[in-house]
Amino acid sequence: MSTPAANTPPHRAGVRGGDPGPVDSSATVIEDSTCTFCGCVCDDIDITVKDNHITEAKRACVLGKAWFFNHHADDRPSCLIEGRPATVAEGVERAARILTDAKYPIIYGLSDTTSEAQRVAVGIGDTIGGTVDTTTSVCHGPSGMAFQGVGEVTCTLGEVANRGDLIIFWGGNPAESHPRHFTKYSLMPKGMFVPNGRKDRTAVGVDVRKTKTAKAMDLFFQIKPRSDFEALWTLRALAKGIEVDAQQVKNDTGIELARWQDLMDRMKAAKFGVILFGMGLTMTRGKHLNSEALLSLARDMNAFTRFVVKPMRGHGNVTGADNVVTWQTGYPFGVNMSRGYPRFNPGEYTSSDTLARGEADAALLVACDPMANFSQPARERLQAIPYIALDPKDTPTTRAATVAFTTATYGINVPGTVYRMDDVPIVLRPAFPSSHPSDFDVLSAIQRRVTELKK
């Protein structure tokens, strides 16, 4: 009898990419390669490779260049068990034992790897009755919850480029976090209905501080910290012509009502309004209620004109993680399968919580670094339990792992699929091979072994 794991032949990962182009022993140029550093997933990078080293990355931004140029084939062993070099097979065996011996194993990370690898990781979670969570739970998880509450009116980034004439950036700093977003998608492009590019657009920033993004705006609203919710509801009221108390609005948001009214007038006058929002909204007081207010505002605006909203996703394939976890389980993150079927409950099944409460007793961490960025109780718990880490780089998380796999880097060494922040799937064209296995390879091997052990 075949197992679910056996339905996905491992060799497929090796053939899934685009054509890497003609091979030249001196220098190879791979055109239209994809940068997976951030959620923009720019797929127009021409990279030059010489002796397994990237020497040029045409059109890449400062972050993308760092991503490509700082990539060196890591000469660490592909597997370390308790800090000592081991074979991948030994690592897989130990990993499978840890996961099948555990009572409350968690799988976490997943936003910087291919969808092909994500699919296998969720499969492991299913087989072992584990809890699957992604980095979404610590970035746009609240937006996902708001989505469940009210829906979302959105579009692909090409629609923003071709139609958007009023662009609002709320609680984010794309000038530094997504450097090509302005030029490629949201502000500069000369689109079908905005032929003069930037001149045809009004750019508005709303944030608690004047970042580099604020300088690129036509209007900037420096609101009081922790007042996003009040600001958004002020706009919702103004959209519907409901009278609001000017003094209270000023006190709450730090902005004169007249300025909010002016913004609302512009929003109604726009032909195609766009709100792009970041973690300044989702990870501050109000969290999913902030996101819900913003999604609702965008929805409301469609009574007057066309308006869309879009979260600015950070990691290269965090959107893929949301998609994969959803299509396999029905829920986007924070999914527990210990009862033999998926259940969703953020706060209960999200990894920072299962660790901090001391519930998780083993972990499989893929392309993430909770040892560097989780709370102290969560880190202490991780330190105390056996866990497996997969990462191309040496990190605080890999250093404390029971089993650490050094894996090939997606997009640079590994083909596959990633999902841009607007859910558009994009193919990877790797530059050169790695001596390390891919996440997909390691996870597939673990999946086969845990399936055997669970029989």
Binding site: F147, T154, A161, Q328, T417, D423, V424
Partner: protein
Amino acid sequence: MSSGFLKIAGGTVYDPAHGVNGERRDIWIREGKIVDPPSDPEVRPERTVDAADLVVMPGGVDMHCHIAGPKVNSARKMRPEQKRKAEKVMRTPSTRSGTMGSVPSTFATGYKYAGMGYTTAFDAAIPPLAARHVHEEFEDTPCIDKGFFVLMGNNHFVMQSIQRNEPERLRSFIAWLLGAAKGFTPKIVNPGGVEIWKQLPSGNVHGLDENVAHFGVTPRQIVEQVAHAVDSLRLPHSVHIHANNLGMPGNWRTTLETMKTLGDSRGHLSHIQFHSYGGGEADENTFNSKAAELVEYVDAHPNLTVDVGQVLFGETTTMTADGPLGYYLSNAFKSKWFSSDTEMESGCGIAPIEYKNTSLVHSLQWAIGLEWYLLAKDPWRVVMSTDHPNGGSFLAYPQIIQLLMDRTYREEMLKDVHPAVLERSRLGDLTREYSLYEICIITRSGPARILGLKNKGHLGPGADADITIYTPNDDKTKMFELPRMVIKSGVVIVEQGEIREPLTGKLLYVAPEYDASIETDISEWFEKYYSIRFRNYPVSLDYLHDPEEVSCA
């Protein structure tokens, strides 16, 4: 020595494609195909399935459903409240867990189709920009063969080619786009209307001759030209049409005009129930059935086929590439709303709804669907669908079968719906009861033929060995919701509702020929307006799981 044969012995066989109507027959299978019995009487089958007193049919074919891709996945994300209380899909040693509700997870979708005796399903509305996503989900949708229709009714290149009156260019583009997405046939959804939705607040078109601003074409031209191109490419299936004005009172005139616009071209009108309404413009008080008028036209025009889009009472999730429709429904039901516009290609709207038998409109929708089945003279051109999950779940097919085969059951249900249904539709007068032979046609043989799948929907030599074996039962819901055995590609995948061997299933696609020089033209336009690179757009063959090309005749 192993003969490699599987024999289904002595079943009561229904194979309408060969005129076989409930005859006792043996079926021989080898290497995934139905074959002639071995000429050497000494050859013994490796396995014999005793089908005595059981009903044997080809595997079911769902030619219009929404089961994969960005729209379906967004709907999954949006409906957690349905899943917690829904049936649980538990993992087993050979199967994956999942969630149900109106939008099941991928593995659950595959198991549930197979468990119900369906072995092939086509997703009806995929923006080609998201084709990779669909192929990924399909690989995680086990047991069934799959394919999808490619959204083109609001595609900018399509409209531009029509405006320029360049049918050659249009035809080449359609062929290129199908090949790039690895899709099956062009789908037209609210032609022109979705583009206007992107341009204007509450924008839409309301008739076939309205101008689509910026592109200078009409919905009528889009229907006519794409249908023509599809026929000249000799695609196995016709153009697949979701006409303008879906769900609006009085829309039957638009539907009839759409049919007339097709002229001699082949055309499939999907979820026709939603397009068969009489009444004043947007006036629900005058809402009534015009099924009979449309049936008459379809009966007289063999180039036309339809699937019904039956409505069932209860909660579900509407999902459509018809962006303005999604907005309309979310306002009408005061529900949460998802909308996503895909650059250059399409829109998308999702809204949860509940069909109530106390509502006149919903009751009429239910009745109009049944009228279509019961009035149509030629079952080969009327296909069972719920437009899953728009009218209801695909899991309602057994209930629909009972409604069609069992007049008493139907009349009982009619008593519970809004009483005005009797005045505003003819359902109360219809006494027809479907036979098993006719059910076999509208659930497998007909859709397979309409799709141009020569290896599906029949049990003759050369057919894919996709076979469903049912235990006869007067309660047709029971009979059809729990087949005794389901065989897919010659492998027993389900026995009495339990998954035995979860095969991945094939991906069915077309690869029509086109003049390659069009690619220069397309790439120039593409690089100007798309947000991804032209080279990264087409899905290569090695990306697909188990691909099978369906040839253009």
